[in-house]
């Protein structure tokens, strides 16, 4: 097939068209969600002994899915169900927070690395002409 022009166009689409910037934006959104969650986790941990304090979290899974679909709104934190309360009303579980913190940090790192690769790819395409 003698398709020179379409081929080049596809190559351009690959790098600066619809595919790449969307994914980069999604990854950036993802990082924001993870960062935001980590801040609320830190707040929970800080208030592990504050009387009456209720654990706050963002619906991580839903927020991540929204982020990866390009949703721009920041997720609102809500109270977490199923936690046992101490007599003073505080329901912070250090175990839950520790696990959530590790999970969030790991996902953040992965997404950051992926973002780095995406930018490197763009750089490759830009420098195409050797």
């Amino acid at each position: 097939m003698i398709g020179g022009a379409p081929a080049i166009e596809e190559l351009e689409n690959l790098t600066n068209g619809t595919a790449m910037p969307d994914f980069i934006d999604s990854l950036a959104r993802f990082l924001e969600v993870a960062s935001s969650r980590q801040q609320f986790i830190a707040s929970n941990i800080a208030n592990a002994n504050t009387p009456g304090f209720k654990t706050q979290d963002v619906d991580f899974r839903k927020s991540l899915q929204a982020a990866l679909s390009g949703e721009t709104n920041a997720p609102n934190p809500s109270e977490v169900a199923g936690l046992s309360e101490r007599p003073d009303g505080n329901n912070v579980s250090l175990e839950r927070e520790a696990l959530a913190m590790a999970d969030t940090e790991a996902r953040f790192k992965v997404a950051a690395q992926m973002l780095r690769i995406q930018f490197r790819q763009l750089s490759t395409a830009i420098q195409g002409e050797r």
Binding site: S35, Q39, A42, S43, I45, P51, A74, L94, E97, R116
Partner: protein
Amino acid sequence: MGLLGIMSVSGSALAVERQRAEIAAGNLANSESTRGPDGKAYRKNVAVVSAVPAYRNASGLVSGVQVDTINTVNSTVRRYEPWHPDAGADGYVEYPDINPAMEMADLMSADRSFQLNAAAIQSAKAMLADSLEIAK
């Protein structure tokens, strides 16, 4: 503020947990002290802590923590020990109303919380480092 906010939030908690630990340690050390500097039995100290708004991020309000006051609990327990140098005319001695087991538990709790808050700061630092990698 973002990830940097974690520094101030967790940092505030480190200060609080250290104070809680000091108070628990002081209560423990003085749990049998029948005569303090004021000539009376030691009174238990209790930290009153509350959440304090630290900053807002895109999702909402992020809170740190602070010690509001350190209260002295004005109760004592009396034991019948007429031989005791600090016994009153009725033979009773006033002891601090401190349960060493509870104070020990508070001390351990403060220590555990301190560790996890320190870990949160490390985590924030790691995430910031990961962010810097994006542009490398």
